[in-house]
Amino acid sequence: MVMLPVLFNAKNAMSIDSNELKQIATLARLGLDEASIPQLTERMNEILAMADQLQDVDVSDIQPMAHPLEFTQRLREDQVNAAIDREKLQTTAQATHEGLYLVPKVID
C-alpha cells in the first residue's frame, strides 16, 4: 500500500529524540539495544506524526468515551469468593520459597 503524505502533518507534529526514547524505555522497564535506537526513534516518530492528526479535531464539549454502552463500573458484595489455590498459582513462577516469590536481594 502507498503511504499517504497526509499522514505527516509537520505543522504540529510532536516528536521525540533518542534521549527521550531512552527515558521512555526506562519508565517502561525496557532495555534498548543501542544499535536499534535510531531506527526505533524514526518508527516512533512516524507513529506519533500519524497520531498528531487527532489534534486538529474540534472536541469542545465532548466527553472522553469511557464505555461503549455508557455502563458504570459494577460493584459486588465484599465477600470471600473461590480463589485459585496458591500452590497451583505459584507453579508458574521461576523461583518461590514457602509461598513467597523470590527475587534478587534488594537491600544489603
Binding site: M1, M3, L4, L7, M14, I16, L21, I24, A25, L27, A28, R29, L30, G31, L32, L40, R43, M44, E46, I47, L48, M50, A51, D52, Q53, L54, Q55, V57, V59, I62, Q63, P64, M65, A66, H67, P68, L69, F71, Q73, R74, R76, I84, K88, L89, Q90, T91, T92, A93, Q94, A95, Y101, V103, P104, K105, V106
Partner: protein, 487 residues
C-alpha cells in the same frame, strides 16, 4: 463429502444418527493437523490425548441423549485463552513456559457445551499485529497462497479453519483481529458487542477494546458457537449484564425492507479497485434479497487509525506491566539485582512490535502528554461512536469491505508499522465504538479471498448473522476449499 467439509449442523446430525462418533471425527481432524499443519504453522500446541478424552466423554453424552448442538464437535482455541494445565503462550517468548493454572470463561463455556479442544492456535504476539508475523513461533501461513500472510492477530484460527484442520475456532478482536484474518483466509468471523463474551482468562491487550468471538466457515456455524461463548460473567467487570439471546433465532428471516448503510469512508481511494467491484457485487446480491441501500457518512471514522494507535498501546503498556519476570513467564538468567531482573526479563521476553507499542503507550500516558494524546483520542473515539449512532437512524446495518486489499506477501510490510496499521482502517472503528461486526467471504481477487464486513447496532449480533446467513444461502463463497487442502 469428507467430514471436514460438513457444516456444523451436518456434523451434529451425523453424530446424532451415529454415522460417525466424536472420537472418529476428532481423529479425522488430528490426522489432518498432522498431515497439513507443517505447511501453514497454524497450531502452537496440539493436545491429542485431551481431545480424545473429551471426545469419548462427548460420545457418552450423545449416547445418553443429553447432547447439545455442539457436543462432540472439535474446536481450536486461540492461544490467548488460558487453558488449565495446557501451555498458553499468547504467541510470545514471554509466556513460552506458561502452563495456565486456571481456565478462561470462554474456553470453559466451550467445554461445558461439549466441544472437543484440539489444541491452541497461532497468533501475533500478545495479539499485536495484523499478519501473524510477530508470533514467537513464526507466522501462520495463508492456505490460499502459502507465500501470503493469513492476517492477524487470530491468523492461526483463520488458517486452521480455511485448511480444514478445525471446523470452529475461538478468536479475539481488538482492532480487527477476528474479521481481518477471516477475510484474508476466506472464512466467517464475528466480533460481538463489547462485553458480550467474557474477558476473564483472556490475556489482556487493550481492555476497553478486547472482545472474544467465534470463527467458522459460515454464519450459521458462528451463531451456534456464539450461543455457547456469550453471556454475563461476574468475573469480568465490563461484562454485558444481561442474558444473551439465541443468536440462531433470526437466521432465516427475510431481508425484505432491510436498509443497508454504505459509509463514504469505507469506499475511499485506499480500497483496492478490484476489491471494490467484488464488494459491489455482494451489495447487489443483498439488494436482490430485498434490501435497499443508502449512503451514510461517518466523518470521524477517517481518524480511526490515529485514535486506535494511541488508545490500544496506552492500555497495552499498562496491561503488559504485569510481565516482570517474578510471578509468571520468562525470567532472564542470573539477574544481578531486581531492576536488572525487570529490564532484562522484559527486554528478552517481548518481541519488537510489542516493545514498540509499550513505548508508544508509555509516552502517550506520561505526564504532560496524557491530555494531548490519550484524552484527546478518547474524545475522538466518542465522536466516532456518535457518528455510528447517527448513521443507524438511517439504516439497519452497515456494509463495507473488511480490508482495503487482499492478503499481502509475508515480509512485505513487516518493517513498516505505519503501513501495516493502515491496513486496519476499515475494522478499527467497530472496536472503538464497541459495535458488533462480522466478516464473511464474498469473492476472490488475484486468487485470494475478499471479506465483506457488516456492522450492526449494539447487541444486534442476531441481525448481523441473519444478513450474513441470507447472503450465504444464495452464494457459495464460504464453501470454497483452498487448493491442496481438499483431502
Amino acid at each position: 463429502m469428507s467430514l471436514h467439509q460438513l457444516s456444523l449442523a451436518q456434523l451434529t446430525q451425523g453424530l446424532a444418527s451415529k454415522q460417525f462418533s466424536s472420537q472418529e471425527l476428532t481423529e479425522h481432524y488430528l490426522a489432518r493437523i498432522q498431515r497439513h499443519d507443517d505447511k501453514i504453522n497454524s497450531f502452537i500446541t496440539v493436545t491429542p490425548e485431551l481431545a480424545l478424552a473429551q471426545a469419548k466423554a462427548a460420545d457418552e453424552q450423545i449416547a445418553s441423549g443429553q447432547a447439545s448442538a455442539l457436543t462432540g464437535i472439535p474446536i481450536a482455541h486461540k492461544d490467548i485463552f488460558c487453558t488449565d494445565g495446557v501451555k498458553t503462550s499468547c504467541g510470545s517468548k514471554m509466556l513460552d513456559n506458561f502452563i495456565a493454572p486456571y481456565e478462561s470463561t470462554v474456553t470453559q463455556q466451550c467445554q461445558q457445551a461439549g466441544l472437543v479442544a484440539l489444541g491452541k492456535v497461532n497468533m501475533d504476539e500478545f495479539a499485536m499485529g495484523s499478519s501473524n508475523e510477530s508470533s514467537f513461533y513464526g507466522p501462520a501461513k495463508n492456505p490460499w497462497n502459502l507465500e501470503h500472510v493469513p492476517g492477524g492477530s487470530s491468523g492461526g484460527s483463520a488458517a486452521a479453519i480455511a485448511a480444514g484442520l478445525a471446523p470452529l475456532a475461538t478468536g479475539t478482536d481488538t482492532g480487527g483481529s477476528i474479521r481481518q484474518p477471516a477475510a484474508f483466509c476466506g472464512i466467517s468471523g464475528i466480533k460481538p458487542t463489547y462485553g458480550r463474551c467474557s474477558r476473564f482468562g483472556m490475556i489482556a491487550f487493550a481492555s476497553s477494546l478486547d472482545q472474544a468471538g467465534p470463527m467458522a466457515r459460515s454464519a450459521e456455524d458462528l451463531a451456534l458457537l456464539l450461543n455457547a461463548m456469550s453471556g454475563f460473567d461476574e468475573k469480568d467487570s465490563t461484562s454485558l449484564n444481561e442474558p444473551a439471546p439465541d443468536f440462531t433465532a433470526q437466521l432465516n428471516q427475510s431481508l425484505k425492507g432491510l436498509r443497508i448503510g454504505l459509509p463514504k469512508p469505507f469506499f475511499d481511494e485506499r480500497l483496492n479497485p478490484t476489491m471494490g467491484d467484488v464488494i459491489a457485487k455482494a451489495k447487489d446480491e443483498l439488494e436482490k434479497l430485498g434490501a435497499t441501500c443508502v449512503e451514510v457518512d461517518l466523518p470521524h471514522v477517517r481518524l480511526s487509525v490515529q485514535c486506535y494507535y494511541i488508545i490500544a498501546p496506552a492500555e497495552a503498556s499498562s496491561n503488559l506491566s504485569r510481565f516482570d519476570g517474578v510471578r509468571y513467564g520468562y525470567r532472564c538468567d542470573n539477574p544481578y539485582d531486581l531492576q536488572d531482573l525487570y529490564f532484562r526479563s522484559r527486554s528478552e521476553g517481548f518481541g519488537d512490535e510489542v516493545k514498540r507499542r509499550i513505548l508508544i503507550g508509555t509516552y502517550a500516558l506520561s505526564a504532560g502528554f496524557f491530555d494531548a494524546y490519550y484524552v484527546q483520542a478518547q474524545k475522538v473515539r466518542q465522536l466516532i461512536r456518535q457518528d455510528y449512532l447517527a448513521a443507524f437512524e438511517q439504516c439497519d446495518i452497515i456494509l463495507g469491505p473488511t480490508t482495503p486489499e487482499p492478503a499481502y506477501k509475508l515480509g512485505e510490510k513487516s518493517g513498516d508499522p505505519v503501513s501495516m496499521y493502515l491496513g486496519d482502517i476499515y475494522t478499527l472503528s467497530a472496536n472503538l465504538a464497541g459495535l458488533p461486526a462480522a466478516s464473511i467471504p464474498c469473492g476472490f481477487t488475484e486468487g485470494l479471498p475478499v471479506g465483506l464486513q457488516l456492522i450492526a447496532p449494539y447487541k444486534q449480533e442476531a441481525k448481523l448473522l441473519n444478513v450474513a446467513h441470507q447472503y450465504q444461502s444464495v452464494t457459495d463463497w464460504h464453501q470454497q476449499v483452498a487448493p491442496g487442502f481438499e483431502e
